[in-house]
Amino acid sequence: MRISKTWSIILFLPFLICFTLFLIVPFVYGLYISFHQWSIFGGNGGFVGLDNYVSILTPGNVYSNAFYNGLKNTLIFVAISVVPLVVISLALALVVDSIPDKLKVFYRTVFFISYAVSVTAVSAIFKWLFTGNGGYVNNVMNTFGLGTPNWLNDQPLAWIAILIATVWWTIGFNMILFINALDEVDQNLYEAAGLDGANWWQRFSYITFPSIKGVFVFLTIITVIASFNLYGQTLLITAGGPAQSTTSLIMVIQQVVFNQNNLGMASAMSMLMGFVMVLIVAAQYFYTFRKD
């Protein structure tokens, strides 16, 4: 069927309008605001050039302290979360893919359903589980004589608790994409490999992984972006503590906007955050591209 040019444009239009309204316009407007002294209530207080950026990037002042601390914490979370979020979801996808078809739908739903839970509910559950004073995890550990760590008030335990909550919450999304990719792998290759006597690891290394590599790279990139957007879990489970060690960059930006009313500074922080994300994602992309 051939779609006319007009229909193509009409079908494409909703995306174009939304993309422009919700991405291009806010981005350009945000960039404009970042060069101004701008109060959320008082509006534009005048052009300040690069002053907001200079304040953020010059160490020692209140904005740079908050920004660098938030960036450091966010990078820590990205570093510790991306591997488990990708590897565990791949492992789950391989397990679910290998079980009989009748059970596949059931387990796919079971593992995906946590993704449908709101961050508020997830955080409430995990806060209760990891509470140091009589939380469920500590009660179980105490029963087996394993001590009662202060999960939410000591590091690195606070990060571990947030990581476990995040993995449980979001693993289903990555897993579904991996399962879809695994469904596309040519079964004839496995049959041929079986005839050649290939074991599980050889089949995975030489057939499965190369076939799903595109999805793997894509998921790694979107997981990095998702981890950069850490906000709800740290806000609700640890409130950014202990000692601001889980205060993410988005929490800092939110505080600058809604507590300090400083939209100009917060916009500059957002631009810098976006720049760091682009650098990391571009590095990932070019590394993969160069290797190929």
Partner: protein, 421 residues
């Protein structure tokens, strides 16, 4: 192509019209003028405020109050359009300097309310050099709840806490006199001990933490945990309340406290848990003199409200609300009203309003937040970084603490400098 462009224009208008922000205020279907009131009363007290606004709406044929109770009501207020807003006392200076609220004196006059109708502490909180910027509603100081089964008498001094700990520890090593949390009410713990030591926390336009006396005062909490074992270690976020609500099982991992120095908003929860075994008392003197910190709710007039008709409606509402028989609903929720005629009703029946009556007694030693621009941001570093070290690091020294307090003061100074010129 012409039709196509027309469709494009219609779609764009439809989408853009959906992007319009703000709550907006107007008229109801039956011609009443709708006035929007936003607050953060999402706890047990919300129902009692609803009782007041519903009562007003039923009494009216000209105005109607549309009340929004939102958890994050400040964000909504800043990005929306409202006629009346609840603001905590510690934020009034910031909201005033940022031009978000206006002098409410003329509205009060129309409503027949005078600043002298309020307790002097409350009056002082809303009165500025350039006018009165809010109507006081209540003061919620730090409160002490105690479990009568574990503590038959309310502790009144540090020594009482120490004695209670000795008694409880003989019963069970998981029982403690009280809980010092590392996060949540940190600001209240810091400022309460500062008030009890008579420390002036303000220098010029910022909070001055860099004082030897404050370091000594904060070390009291350190000693309560690590030296005298009055509080368990590592209680974490809102730990003073969580530990009070725990029931210790033999061999369990939980610790329980006999008292909680906490916020009055937990009243409904503790009442439900303890019933007749719940005791309510003033905060003990753990330092030199009586003193207690806390905050208060006020009602402020957004700068955007200028229409005379709306002002008249708001005056009607305030007149209704600040009638003692109506405002007493607020005391019923556990809050302590600062409106003197309503306070008198509470004091006349302390059995019916136990928490409210107890907290009114604390007004005399109450120390509110200083009137500083971005006060909450000024105290952020000390609350989130310094205080957790005091109550979490067994080996912290006064030298280390002083160096952190200097850093906190420097940050407070920088935040103060961001004030509009």
């Amino acid at each position: 192509m012409k039709n196509f462009l027309l469709y494009l224009a219609i779609i764009s208008v439809l989408i853009l019209s959906g992007c319009g922000g703000g709550s907006g205020s107007g008229e109801t279907a039956d011609g009443k003028i709708e006035l929007t009131f936003i607050n953060g009363f999402t706890g047990g007290d919300g129902d009692y405020m609803k009782k007041i606004t519903n009562g007003f709406n039923e009494s009216q044929d000209k105005y109607v109050i549309k009340e929004s109770q939102e958890k994050d009501h400040y964000t909504k207020f800043k990005t929306g359009n409202y006629d009346l807003v609840m603001i905590h006392t510690d934020l009034l200076e910031t909201f005033k300097q940022d031009g978000m609220i206006q002098d409410i004196s003329s509205l009060m006059e129309t409503a027949g309310i005078s600043p002298d109708d309020f307790h002097p502490v409350a009056k002082e909180q809303v009165t500025f050099d350039d006018g009165v910027f809010a109507l006081p509603l209540d003061i919620h100081p730090m409160t002490m709840f105690y479990n009568k089964k574990l503590a038959p008498e309310a502790p009144q001094t540090y020594e009482d806490f120490a004695k209670l700990t000795t008694t409880l520890q003989q019963q069970d090593p998981n029982l403690f006199a009280t809980g010092v949390p590392s996060a949540g009410l940190g600001e209240w713990f810091i400022m309460t001990v500062a008030a009890q030591n008579g420390i002036n926390m303000v220098e010029d336009n910022h909070v001055n933490f860099s004082q030897e006396e404050l370091a000594d005062a904060l070390m009291i909490y350190h000693d309560m945990i690590f030296k005298d074992k009055i509080s368990p270690q590592g209680l974490g976020l809102d730990g003073e309340f969580q530990a009070f609500m725990k029931q210790v099982d033999e061999g369990g991992s939980a610790v329980q406290t006999a008292t909680a120095l906490t916020g009055p908003w937990y009243y409904q929860a503790v009442k439900e848990a303890y019933g007749d075994d719940l005791g309510i008392a003033s905060v003990p003197v753990i330092a030199e003199q009586p003193g207690v910190y806390g905050a208060g709710h006020t009602l402020a007039l957004p700068s955007s409200v200028t229409d005379e008709e709306r002002m008249a409606g708001l005056a009607e509402f305030l007149k209704y609300m600040y009638t003692p028989e109506n405002l007493i609903n607020w005391a019923d929720s556990g809050q302590a009203p600062t409106h003197i005629p309503t306070m008198e009703l509470v004091e006349a029946d302390p059995e019916k309003y136990p928490l409210s009556a107890q907290n009114i007694k604390q007004f005399e030693s109450f120390e509110g937040a200083p009137k500083l621009y971005q006060y909450r941001e000024q105290v952020r570093y000390v609350v989130e970084n310094v205080y957790p070290k005091v109550v979490g690091d067994a080996n912290i020294t006064k030298e280390t603490l002083m160096s952190e307090l200097k850093k906190a003061t420097e940050q407070a100074k920088q935040v103060a400098e961001t004030a509009p010129q």
